[in-house]
């Protein structure tokens, strides 16, 4: 009975989602595919940003962390909220002000040179494919648990449906469906928390506070200060302005919408973490015995909700995963067209649109194949964060702030940042207790300073000759 209901609810949800995607209509030109004609209002920018960053880690993962470590991860999550607010106040408006800019690579190209744009484009496409593979794995896991299909076919269904509406509708379809998916999970999961608090919390507020205190103490006991520092760094920098977020900053109707969208998304992230952590803490007085972190949310729903509640949770999980996946596919395709193809050849608008569509399908295929190799959701995400921050952030942020950024500094910082991150992550994973993101970021900054200084000295010498 429960399986039939789950299949019916998920099927209905997919039909409604397809209807919403169709209403978004197919993109007719590249500017529509890449930036939705720069006409997004505040609510859609905010909803789409929040829908993109709330993935399996910020939902299932955070409930599990609340269960095991109490309020510790609320403090760590605060770093993520601060990052979004800082990006909104200082970076997004500057990015939005750049003229004719479709991607982060474009922004880097305008500030440095074409070579830097191409390198930034390659890193962006690679990272989008990596993040998309993690989301595809998570989506495959959820569908497998509903329909009992083999993992590879579940992955194909999730990636196939997402790729279909993203290929035709581009950013506009992605943002519209994100808004729909955001509404689904932002309403259903907090309502579930309220129901749990009202009807299932044994012992009331006193028990809740006692469980929160016990879990938080256990969290601090099992996490070393250096590990907490690494987690704060990963939350503060790892996802900063990844391509889908940058696209939303660029696609906002005005500079102030771009700024406010990020600030609101930052505030919402803190609220969201509170809700997820509270679900985890509430689960401690309901679920007995030891349980894996990633299974706490599922178990809580099974223990407290009727069969329809379980089916709705599956809808919420699919929404969370597809809204992140579609944004990554679109951002990767736009970066490929704008930063890798266009610098080499002048392509007419129609051709650029078709290249973007083909790239969406190719990145989706790579993500589907890569999903089978992803070790775990959190593990996969951490690898992507570790590479993204050192590879792009110093170049982008310094480039937006200083008067004359030097191309050599850009190339060296992106190249060395990527290499050091890969080395610490894959070749010498146990070389140091410090998370790889910190030495890689340090190396990228040093390389930037070195490149800037070499080119400056070279220019001055040339001027004297």
């Amino acid at each position: 009975m429960q399986t039939v209901l789950s299949v019916a609810v998920v099927g209905t949800y997919l039909v409604v989602l397809t209807f919403v995607a169709v209403r978004a209509r197919a993109a007719r030109e590249f500017a529509e595919f890449s930036l939705a004609k720069r006409a997004l209002p505040l609510a859609l920018v905010f909803g789409s940003l929040a829908a993109t960053y709330v993935g399996p880690g910020f939902s299932i993962g955070f409930v599990g962390r609340g269960f095991k470590s109490g309020l510790l991860f609320l403090g760590i999550g605060l770093a993520y909220a601060v990052q979004n607010i800082l990006v909104g106040l200082f970076v997004a408006p500057r990015l939005r002000r750049l003229k004719g800019c479709h991607t982060l690579g474009d922004a880097i190209g305008q500030k440095y040179d074409r070579k830097c744009q191409i390198l930034a484009g390659i890193i962006s496409v690679g990272l989008c494919a990596g993040f998309a593979a993690v989301m595809a794995k998570a989506g495959g896991d959820v569908l497998r648990s509903i329909f009992g299909l083999p993992h590879w076919s579940s992955v194909i269904v999730v990636v196939g449906i997402t790729a279909l509406y993203t290929t035709f509708g581009g950013l506009r379809a992605s943002v519209i469906t994100d808004a729909f998916q955001f509404s689904a999970f932002a309403i259903l999961l907090p309502l579930m928390l309220l129901l749990v608090l009202m009807f299932h919390l044994n012992g009331g507020a006193a028990t809740f506070a006692k469980e929160a205190s016990a879990a938080t103490t256990a969290g601090f006991d099992s996490t070393s200060p250096i590990k907490i520092l690494g987690l704060v760094a990963a939350f503060l920098l790892g996802e900063t302005l990844i391509p889908p977020y940058a696209n939303r900053a660029l696609a906002s109707k005005t500079t102030s919408i771009s700024r406010n969208g990020f600030v609101l998304a930052g505030l919402f992230s803190f609220v969201w973490f509170m809700v997820m952590i509270a679900l985890g803490i509430a689960a401690r007085s309901i679920i007995q015995g030891d349980i894996e972190e990633d299974k706490v949310l599922m178990k809580l729903v099974e223990s407290t909700m009727p069969a329809a509640g379980y089916a709705l949770l599956l809808v919420v999980l699919i929404s969370i995963i597809m809204s992140s996946l579609d944004s990554l596919l679109n951002a990767g395709a736009v970066a490929f067209t704008q930063d890798i193809v266009k610098p080499f050849a002048k392509v007419p608008d129609g051709t650029a649109l078709n290249i973007g569509r083909c790239a969406t399908i190719i990145i989706a295929a790579i993500a589907a194949v890569g999903a089978l190799a992803v070790p775990s959701i959190i593990g996969g995400l951490l690898i992507c964060y570790t590479i993204w921050a050192p590879a792009i952030l110093p170049v982008l942020i310094i480039g937006l702030w200083i008067k004359r950024p030097r191309p050599l500094a850009g190339i060296l910082s992106m190249g060395i940042g990527t290499l050091v991150a890969i080395m610490f992550q894959f070749v010498f994973p146990s070389a140091t207790e410090v998370p790889a993101i910190i030495p890689a970021l340090g190396a990228a900054l040093l390389a930037y300073i070195l490149g800037h200084w070499i080119e400056k000295v070279y220019e001055e010498r040339k001027r004297w000759e």
Binding site: R23, I176, A179, F185, I187, P190, L193, A205, A212
Partner: protein
């Protein structure tokens, strides 16, 4: 203390629900505006 934490959590949950409703209303507006735009462009094409 427990009551204060619980009240904060309830406020956070309500804030999230209101955000969801706000985005849903914006989505409905965007879709209906788009429909109106498409109908007027269809009319222009017929003329």
């Amino acid at each position: 203390m427990g009551v204060v934490i619980l009240v904060l959590v309830v406020i956070a949950a309500l804030f999230a629900v209101v955000s969801g409703v706000w985005v849903a209303l914006a989505l409905i507006t965007a879709i209906s505006e788009h429909n109106a735009e498409q109908m007027s462009s269809d009319k222009d094409n017929k003329i």
